[in-house]
């Protein structure tokens, strides 16, 4: 199986699925199972063609085929261009073996650096997600249920401004804030709380704060729009029936806001685990984070198949996380992406 063979697979599989659905719909139409006007009848030829071409290009060339070819590449050895498609270009697990054992052939010792970085990335991302939820829930509730119109507009404006500031600049802001000569250290020194500046960046505190900060609003907005749709009478009714405030939140507001909570949590987790700017700007020399390792596979080690394998590992982790959140909240994907 050569590179052309791989590409056939990359192209063939989605094409086969599309053909299957097309045949199915043609069959249903012939058997009279489907009703209503046909696609081109309904849209006209010009608009129909535009819809098919635009969606076809997007789905196949922009979304599905790139993912497939990345997965395909991750199962191939690193070869010079002349040998691609040659007899050595076979499917292999060596890139995944490298992630686990630090060697493409031996399984004697674990690849602790990469494994630790991976575990830390996932663990810290989950922690940041929970922290951001705890920090954002009250303000989102306030905006959605008790703030007046004028106040709400001001709060939203105050949030929109930092929202459009670039990730790199946000991380940079934390570097200015937390550096050894930065304002926080000056305040601490001035107050006599510490004898010498704290190395926030070396201790990764800067990175974790920067990540939490960067994706704070990704939590606020979904929570806000989910809580906003809750009828205020339900809260009043619960209070009239004597429910304490934490009961109201736990058993009235949160169940209603489930889709927003799930959506905010998935977004923050995914953005944290996939963040590249904050680790580049805020990481200390010994910081472990998974995305810079992936980046280095490509542009330092020039081992693209290995990089593809690492990227695929990250992707699978994110998919598993999304599925777990959906399962936990008993939701469908459509409900959290609104």
């Amino acid at each position: 199986m050569g590179a052309t063979g791989g590409l056939t697979l990359v192209f063939g599989l989605p094409l086969a699925v599309a053909l299957f659905f097309f045949a199915l719909s043609a069959y249903e139409r012939r058997m009279g199972l489907a009703t209503g006007p046909g696609f081109f009848q309904r849209n006209g030829l010009a608009v129909g063609l535009y819809l098919v071409l635009a969606v076809g290009f997007w789905v196949f060339f922009v979304i599905v085929l790139p993912q497939f070819s990345m997965v395909d590449m991750s199962f191939r050895p690193k070869l010079p261009p002349s040998q691609m498609g040659g007899p050595k270009d076979v499917f292999t697990l060596e890139n995944y073996r490298y992630f686990l054992f630090g060697s493409t052939t031996s399984t004697a010792s674990w690849n602790w650096i990469h494994l630790k970085a991976f575990a830390l990335t996932i663990g810290v991302s989950i922690a940041i997600t929970l922290f951001n939820f705890a920090l954002c829930y009250p303000i989102a509730f306030h905006m959605a249920q008790s703030a007046g119109a004028a106040r709400l507009r001001i709060l939203l404006l105050l949030m929109i401004i930092p929202y459009w500031v670039n990730e790199i600049l946000r991380a940079f802001a934390f570097r200015v804030l937390l550096s050894s000569g930065g304002i926080i250290n000056k305040l601490l020194l001035g107050a006599g709380l510490v004898a010498e500046p704290i190395d926030f960046l070396g201790a990764d505190i800067g990175l974790y704060m920067g990540l939490s900060y960067a994706y704070l609003l990704m939590m606020v907005f979904p929570l806000y729009s989910a809580i906003e749709s809750l009828d205020r009478n339900q809260i009043e009714a619960a209070r009239d029936l004597g429910a304490p405030w934490w009961h109201i939140h736990l058993f009235v507001v949160m169940p209603h806001a489930k889709p927003g909570i799930a959506s905010g949590c998935t977004l923050v987790f995914m953005l944290c685990a996939g963040a590249l700017a904050a680790p580049l700007v805020l990481a200390g020399p010994r910081t472990l984070w998974f995305t810079p390792i992936v980046y280095d596979r490509f542009y330092q080690a020039f081992n693209w198949p290995q990089g593809a394998a690492y990227a695929f590992i990250l992707l699978v982790t994110c998919i598993v996380f999304v599925l777990m959140v959906l399962k936990m909240f008993r939701l469908s994907l459509g409900e959290i992406t609104r």
């Binding site: 590409l7 990359v10 719909s25 849209n43 006209g44 608009v47 535009y50 819809l51 635009a54 290009f57 997007w58 789905v59 922009v62 979304i63 599905v64 790139p66 070819s69 990345m70 306030h142 507009r153 404006l157 105050l158 929109i160 401004i161 930092p162 459009w164 500031v165 670039n166 990730e167 790199i168 600049l169 991380a171 940079f172 802001a173 570097r175 200015v176 804030l177 000569g181 304002i183 900060y213 609003l217 977004l267 995914m270 953005l271 996939g274 963040a275 590249l276 700017a277 700007v281 995305t291 980046y295 490509f298 990089g307 593809a308 990227a311 990250l314 994110c318 459509g334 992406t337 609104r338």
Partner: protein
């Protein structure tokens, strides 16, 4: 919510902390853009200067990157809005059985980390252009536009879909009954109805593209955008010129946000006027008044 004074104070403290966390770092960075020391410093203020701004404009790499970023943003808007529109229309028409699979595929880029989108785009187009001999397509700007379009089209689709779901199919049927062709319905009924959503989608697409780093840094190859140049500068060392750039971006955002708010209010007011005019027309119709100017509705 009724609450005691203690609770109210506690909540006020919480809101203050929240906004201090949200805006404090940006304010600190903003101050350092006007302070004279070489290293971004907030306190003590040793002198007020605008040198960092002029240094910013003299930075040729950064300016070239800015121009590239603007072009990429415009191209992404030109692709993502039509694609998102098509995606949304297909979503409303596709058979229910296929719909969830289709939804899963087109929404997946929103939930995929940006670096993975960048990586997969580069990997696929490198293979594809080598195999088909279309090497000229393997270009940093083209790949970045394609990579960003994958998830930005999905944003656009979700925005347009939200409005499309409120579309009254009876309008289309009425137009068809009156002899309009399908392209005419699309052009004169559907597009005007979707216009506010299309505008919002275009703004969002441009801003998302402009500030994107994760996808861009992989897909841009040897070219440079504002964000990739910026990342390089920040890694080399901190200078207040970067703070100055942030100040400019915040100022531009403020102007944009206020302009958008004004536009939206005007649009809402116009919609309100149209609605009232339509109601009045309907009432006088009911009263037996046949002479209604069609433009009023």
């Amino acid at each position: 919510m009724k609450s005691g004074p203690l609770q109210r104070v506690a909540f006020a403290v919480y809101v203050a902390i929240f906004f201090l966390y949200l805006l404090g770092p940006l304010a600190v960075m903003g101050v350092s853009a006007f302070n004279t020391p070489q290293y971004p410093q907030v306190w003590p203020i040793e002198g007020v200067t605008l040198d960092w701004f002029s240094q910013l404009f003299a930075d040729e790499d950064l300016m070239d990157g800015l121009v590239t970023s603007l072009w990429i943003g415009l191209l992404v808007v030109a692709i993502s809005v039509p694609v998102g529109l098509a995606g949304a229309i297909v979503m409303t028409q596709i058979q229910p059985r296929v719909r969830s699979a289709y939804y899963l595929v087109v929404v997946s880029p929103v939930l995929t980390p940006g670096i993975i989108i960048g990586i997969s785009t580069v990997v696929f187009w490198r293979e594809f252009t080598t195999l088909t001999g279309m090497k000229f397509l393997y270009d940093g700007i083209i790949l970045t536009v394609i990579g960003q379009s994958s998830f930005i089209s999905a944003y656009c689709m979700l925005i347009i879909l939200a409005r499309l779901q409120r579309f009254d199919q009876a309008q289309q049927e009425a137009a068809l009954d009156l002899g309009a062709t399908y392209p005419q319905v699309f052009r004169h009924i559907l597009l005007p109805f979707l216009q506010p959503a299309l505008f919002s989608a275009a703004v969002l697409a441009f801003l998302s593209s402009f500030e994107n780093y994760n996808t861009t840094t992989f897909a841009i190859l040897s070219d440079k955008t504002l964000t990739t140049v910026l990342a390089g500068r920040v890694r080399q060392g901190s200078t207040p010129a970067i703070s100055a750039l942030a100040v400019i971006i915040v100022a531009a955002t403020l102007v944009g946000a206020v302009a958008y708010e004004l536009w939206k209010r005007r649009a809402d007011a116009a919609a309100g006027r149209r609605l009232r005019a339509a109601q009045m027309a309907e009432e006088s119709e009911l009263a037996g008044n046949a002479a209604i100017e069609p433009a009023a509705a």
